[in-house]
């Protein structure tokens, strides 16, 4: 038995070293189709690398925006700046509450925002968080919080990407990297937002089978912990559900339950009920506004901030 355990542990050490070596070699030398579970996401789909670099040079905000792609393509910091609010957008593609918690904990003390606009896309309550975890693992400076996030998401792609990203950071392999500021889906705006590219003529969305939203325990816990963290740091927050296409919105059968769930955690506004934005004029696609829609929506939010808060 003793012999078995010693040999087994020895093999585990050899296997971990061997696995890491082959993984790093594959990351550097194989084309993406040969490294299925290594998604080193640089350049990021949502300018995460640039956004975090940008965040490192930003301090003392009026407004911090958190959320998924509906945050970075739904809240334009320029519109807030025009109203004399210094804002930063930390939204990222498919950012689930697990990643929002991590980002909030990393940046709240640096930003010291007067208010957080937290865009709560209901589908994220049932999102595995893999896509956003890979995005962060690829683009964020390594820290134990990233490791904790990877364990929570528990997906081999996240582990592999994190390992590879650590190696690249350790050997300064990204130092000369500059992310392009213009991509097919939109242009990066200093402050974390993205201006959507002008879209093709609007098409009515395909009919989606109605579904009832489910809640993943882990995502709900991360959401609660983010709220608790904001409260601990005495940061005011507003929970928002930005406008989506009407068909998209009505596809969820339990919107009422979702509203009551989210509103139980603080001040909450569901723009789908408060604003009546015709899809053909203001939507880019099912889940995102076009630039015109963003401006209308952001002005609505600013009006609220002026009317109802001390900002």
């Amino acid at each position: 038995m003793k012999r078995f355990l010693i040999k087994f542990l020895l093999f585990v050490i050899v296997a971990v070293i061997g696995y890491t070596a082959v993984l790093l070699w594959s990351g550097d030398h194989l084309s993406p189709r040969w490294k299925k579970n290594l998604f080193y996401n640089m350049p990021s789909q949502g300018y995460m690398y640039t956004r975090l670099k940008d965040a490192d040079t930003t301090k003392n905000l009026d407004i911090l925006i958190l959320g998924s792609s509906r945050a970075f393509m739904g809240y334009d910091v320029r519109v807030f700046n025009q109203s004399q609010y210094k804002a930063f957008n930390l939204g990222s593609p498919a950012q689930s509450f697990i990643q929002t918690e991590l980002l909030a904990k990393r940046y709240i003390n640096r930003f010291k925002p007067k208010v957080v606009l937290f865009d709560v896309h209901p589908d994220l309550f049932n999102n595995p968080g893999v896509e956003s975890a890979i995005d962060l693992a690829s683009n964020a400076p390594f820290g134990t919080d990233l490791l904790q996030m990877a364990i929570k998401v528990n997906n081999i792609r996240v582990y592999n990407t994190l390992l590879y990203s650590m190696y690249r950071q350790l050997f300064f392999k990204n130092n000369s990297y500059t992310e392009p500021m213009v991509k097919s889906y939109g242009d990066y705006i200093k402050g974390g937002s993205v201006q959507p590219a002008p879209q093709d003529p609007y098409k009515a969305p395909a009919v989606i089978k109605p579904y009832a939203m489910e809640v993943d325990d882990m995502q709900l816990k991360a959401f609660e912990q983010t709220i608790a963290y904001l409260n601990e740091n005495h940061v005011k927050y507003i929970l928002l559900q930005g406008p989506v296409e009407k068909t998209e919105y009505l596809t969820r059968k339990n919107n009422h339950q979702i509203d009551s769930l989210i509103s139980s955690y603080g001040t909450y506004y569901n723009a789908n009920k408060l604003l009546n934005l015709p899809d053909s004029l203001y939507q880019k696609d099912g889940k995102h506004l076009n630039q015109k829609g963003i401006e209308v929506y952001d002005k609505f939010i600013i009006k609220y901030l002026k009317d109802k808060t001390e900002l």
């Binding site: 061997g18 082959v22 594959s26 040969w34 290594l38 893999v130 993943d216 339950q257």
Partner: protein, 490 residues
């Protein structure tokens, strides 16, 4: 929060993190804390097995416990009775209740729907209420464990155990509980009834078997499943080669899935000091369908052979009855897999493929391993293997398709030519990994499992590098979607 449906499943899949934790804890306590007393080890394993099953479905724990008690009790009554009528009555009771549960949970809806369809065909419009039962996981497996035990006692092949813990462990031992192999009391009970000694070679062999099982399941089978599922779900839009590829991919998927599962189960049991029945013996290297069935799901095939085919007269009856018996066991085998005509047709087709060898008395040919002692097969053997694989793959179409009509349409479209987009393999590396699996299996085909003696004499650094590369393949190419083991549904 109660209004929302929560996603919180802790299913104890062999390839889950939960099972890794569970098994590590079991292994440590079993060998380090309880190693002085095998009876305490048995109680511990029984508790763990019930916990394992409870993680799947605690609601059906009572069914497992009842089925266990029933067979334990009837086994004792049969053995202690000298009156043949009483013995038979207890046997019939046990078989009746066991099959009764199986029928209710697995076949009730199939029966009433089939009767209703039959009556509708004759313009009698009947409507029966169907039962909305969940199928208890593993019911087909543990029911057959119990049946073999009772039948063996009835025919004086074994003596009943008087220890309820040992019998319960025989039925519910967690490595085999939810998808087999279907154990025999004559094989497993004696191992439960005596102390187990930790054996280094046995344990390392168990680890190798688990490693290979994981490779087959989560790299090969799950990736093939992505491809096969796409084709079968949308077969109306494909034809020709794409459909052939879909069927071949399903053949590889089901082999990787089930034999991979069995390897993990056998390896896990071996780490605890138990040898389970071998369930697969490289079936795709078979030269005819009869040989395939001696190598595929061996524990089920031999169960039907011993408890149905031989009691019906086996091969010692007239040719007509041999043919009848062959059809009976294959159709029953199909029916065992599920309450759907597709499985019955699948069984029927396999019987049809095997009948020529029954008629020409060639079904006992090819008892040895193909190309025994040689590196490569002869051209004839290669042709035979490809032909057998083609027949088996053809039958798998019925096994995989949701209905017989879908299967027939699928086959019909194979012969329609044309150009259409073929779904991507998804993982380019599959082009290399599938051949790699078959090469390793070919090299190891004379062993109990592919890696048992695979270049066992290589220097340790080379062997460990090889295992590390398999681990790397698992990490880099495993499917990240949730794909259950196919046989869990049976």
């Amino acid at each position: 929060m109660s209004k929302f449906e929560k996603n919180c499943d802790i299913s104890m899949l062999f390839n889950s993190f939960y099972f890794l934790i569970f098994f590590t804890v079991v292994f440590i306590i079993y060998w380090f804390v309880l190693n002085k007393n095998y009876k305490v080890q048995n109680v511990f394993l029984l508790i763990c097995s019930y916990f394992f099953y409870g993680c799947w479905s605690w609601k059906f724990l009572f069914l497992l416990a009842f089925s266990t008690y029933l067979d334990y009790y009837t086994g004792l009554r049969i053995y202690n009775s000298e009156n043949s009528r009483v013995r038979k009555a207890w046997l019939v009771t046990s078989i009746g209740i066991n099959l009764g549960f199986l029928s209710i949970f697995k076949y009730y809806n199939f029966f009433i729907n089939s009767v209703a369809d039959g009556l509708n065909f004759f313009n009698y419009h009947a409507h029966f209420s169907s039962l909305n039962f969940l199928l208890p996981v593993g019911i087909s497996f543990y029911t057959f464990h119990g049946l073999s035990y009772v039948i063996d006692i009835y025919y004086h092949r074994t003596k009943p155990t008087t220890n309820p813990v040992e019998y319960s462990l025989f039925v519910s031992f967690f490595p085999l509980l939810v998808a087999g192999p279907i154990e025999r009391a004559t094989h497993l009970l004696p191992q439960i009834e005596k102390p187990r000694q930790f054996n280094y070679n046995k344990a390392t062999s168990g680890l190798r078997q688990i490693l290979w099982g994981f490779f087959k399941k989560i790299v090969i089978a799950d990736n093939c499943a992505d491809f096969a599922n796409k084709i079968f779900a949308d077969y109306q839009h494909y034809h020709g080669m794409a459909l052939v590829m879909g069927a071949v991919m399903f053949s590889i998927q089901i082999y990787g899935d089930f034999s991979g599962y069995s390897d993990i189960a056998l390896g896990t049991a071996r780490l605890l000091g138990f040898d389970l029945i071998k369930n697969f013996a490289f079936p795709y290297f078979s030269r005819n369908v009869a040989e395939f069935w001696r190598r595929w799901h061996i524990s089920l095939s031999s169960w039907f052979r011993d408890y149905v085919y031989i009691p019906l007269g086996g091969s010692r009856v007239s040719l007509g009855k041999q043919v009848r018996n062959t059809f009976i066991i294959f159709i029953l085998s199909g029916f065992w897999h599920g309450a759907n005509w597709t499985f019955i047709i699948w069984g029927f087709l396999n019987a049809l493929f095997i009948i020529p060898s029954v008629i020409f008395k060639t079904n006992r040919k090819s008892l040895n391993t193909v190309a025994q002692g040689k590196l490569l097969p002869s051209v004839k053997e290669l042709f035979q293997m490809v032909f057998t694989f083609t027949l088996i793959t053809f039958a798998w179409i019925f096994f995989r398709a949701p209905t017989c009509a879908d299967a027939l349409m699928y086959i019909q479209r194979i012969f329609v030519s044309g150009h259409e987009a073929r779904p991507h393999l998804g993982v380019s590396a599959l082009n290399i990994l599938i051949p790699l699996m078959f090469v390793v299996e070919w090299i190891g085909r004379e062993s109990n499992f592919a890696l048992e003696n695979f270049y066992i004499r290589w220097p340790r650094p080379v062997k460990w590098s090889f295992y590390t590369i398999i681990l790397f393949c698992i990490g880099m190419y495993m499917s990240t979607g949730k794909i259950d083991f196919i046989y869990f549904q049976f």
